[in-house]
Amino acid sequence: MSAPLLELSDVEVEFRTRDGIARVLNRVGFSLSSGSTLGIVGESGCGKSMTALTIMRLVPQPPGRIAGGIIRLDGENLLTATEARMREIRGNEVSMVFQEPMTSLNPVFSVGNQIAETVRLHQGLSKREALDRAVEMLAAVGIPVPERRIAEYPHQLSGGMRQRVMIAIGLACGPRLLIADEPTTALDVTVQAQIFDLLIDLKERTGTSIILITHDMGAIAEMAERVVVMYAGRIVEEGPVEVILGDPLHPYTRGLINCVPHLEERPSPERRPLTEIAGMVPALTALGRGCAFAPRCNHATALCREQAPPLEGGDEHRVACWLHER
């Protein structure tokens, strides 16, 4: 295996809240090799987006604080880099596509300008060259008549189009890593498929590594090579996509997979019932010493409630669960 492009180890992020300190990321560590796609899954509030913001070092401080750990991008520790260096990296070497295409573009600037801004900033192109690049990028993300679209404003575009523009902004500087934070959640099903196809296609053409944050297991099956499952700010399971989807070990991962509704071709009166994971994600300020998932877990024992299980296993497949303690 080649040296990893991105490597996180023991990353800790805390938020000061009214109810005390919330540890939103707890000893998060994983790595991503160059040119591969990593999926991060989990329920809302489990730390997926916070992981992304931490890599970009865009955690709002205060109330947030990166309390510890190392994030290496090609060997360079991002957590000790200067703010000026981080600004060089953001949008250039690591870029991000957000969940809400409707509100993630600035309403008062044309889409062409918003793409051109990034390349002018990072590659020092002239205004003319930058706008040419914007046209190229719009064409690359599959927007028809791009030379006319660059003059349009976000409100003139549909949600799917706007997300394509966001992807164009993200890829304009040819980054080594693209973090897509639930890029399709706000879109129609048909448009979701288009955006995933676009991401797969772009990845093949540019060789950009992708971190795909989603709760869409279908998208994970289609795109990801490795999967990280997060719960309450911790990684509970990590492994290759076939193993995670085919032979999950952690009860939470199994629960997530069981929650995916099945499309039955001939719905009969006795349809398969929808499953859910009972209970809710616990408040991060009220985590006890035990496994955070124990209150919702059918297999929980006294040990689970007393002591949090470590994330263990080989390089290939790791799980944090006492059931699989070897």
Partner: protein, 326 residues
């Protein structure tokens, strides 16, 4: 092409509005106590019953009210606002001589309030819980609550009487007989206190509005996008955020132009500034009806023009209004 249609429609409404204001003013002023014929007679130094009757006939005051209104409006169309009862000169000449100083005062105060207010608001929004933010809040409250004539007198006492930095009153020093650049400097010197007095009430509102609006915008997704592009904090704040946050400020500025004019009446009186406000104040005391009507006509015209300009500014800043949905 679309713009000319919109502009044409706006101008038509504006004309209709001004006509309605003229009619209303004309009728209102006749409801006020005081017989203009007696006023004129008073200026002449006492009179008998016959002389007053004679005055009524000469000035058409014996005609029915609607007839007087029609005559007044007909003359107005040819730019004749009648003669001042006090000065015996055409009202139009009186007003034109005073218009410049008032426009200078109001525009300076407005520019001061809008730019300084927005700037302070942005600074306060960067650290909304900080000392500076609270200081601005307190100063805003004081500036807003203090009556403009009181602020004016206090500033005069402090900065003219106790510390003679600025002249006491007037627009320029007649003894200097300055011309050209020297005159401009002299006028500027005289302008500072009145403009500040008039601006400070509005400054308070702009700083509050822009603080609130900026706080709102700083939480927006597109500000996060701007940061994720690697833009510097300055560009994020003053380009991406401010352009959006300034919209409510522009609205407020347009709406408040009228209050600014009425504020000018008091400020001009306190500082003996030779503008329309001072003329209005004196004409009211003298029951100089034609002059009052003329000033009201000009004031409403200025408010209508200000609103027209606000609309146009809005179209420049916000593309959603300029282009509409397509």
């Amino acid at each position: 092409m679309q713009l000319t249609i919109i502009l044409g429609r706006r101008l038509f409404y504006a004309a209709a509005l001004i006509a309605a204001v003229v009619v209303l003013n004309f009728l209102l002023i006749r409801l006020a106590p005081g017989d203009p014929a007696l006023t004129i007679a008073g200026e002449m130094g006492g009179a008998t019953e016959e002389i007053i009757e004679d005055i009524r006939r000469t000035y058409g005051l014996d005609e029915p009210l609607h007839h007087q209104l029609l005559v007044y409006m007909k003359r107005m169309l040819s730019g004749d606002l009648g003669d001042s009862l006090f000065f015996n000169t055409p009202v139009m000449d009186l007003i034109l001589a005073r218009l410049g100083p008032t426009v200078l005062l109001v525009m300076t105060a407005m520019t001061l309030a809008v730019t300084l207010g927005s700037f302070l608001g942005v600074l306060a929004a960067r650290n909304p819980e900080g000392l500076f933010s609270n200081l601005i809040t307190v100063l805003s409250l004081v500036g807003y609550s203090a009556p403009v004539f009181w602020t004016g007198i206090m500033l005069l006492i402090v900065f003219s009487a106790m510390i003679p930095l600025f002249p006491l009153s007037g627009m320029y020093d007649v003894r200097l007989g300055a011309t050209g650049l020297a005159l401009a400097v002299d006028v500027l010197h005289h302008l500072i206190l009145p403009a500040f007095t008039l601006g400070i009430i509005f400054l308070a509102q702009y700083s509050r509005i822009s603080r609130a609006s900026m706080l709102d915008v700083l939480g927006a997704d597109y500000v996060r996008t701007a940061r994720a592009k690697g833009l510097s904090e300055r560009v994020v704040l003053y380009k991406h955020a401010l352009r959006n946050a300034v919209l409510p400020v522009v609205t407020l500025a347009g709406l408040q132009f009228g209050s600014m004019l009425s504020g000018a009446v008091l400020v001009e009186t306190v500082y003996n500034w030779p503008g329309l406000g001072q003329l209005a104040f004196e004409s009211i005391l003298r029951r100089d009806h034609p002059t009052i009507l003329g000033i009201l006509f000009f004031a409403s015209g200025m408010v209508v023009v200000a609103n027209l300009l606000t609309d146009l500014t809005y179209r420049i800043i916000d593309p959603r209004i300029r282009t509409g949905r397509s």
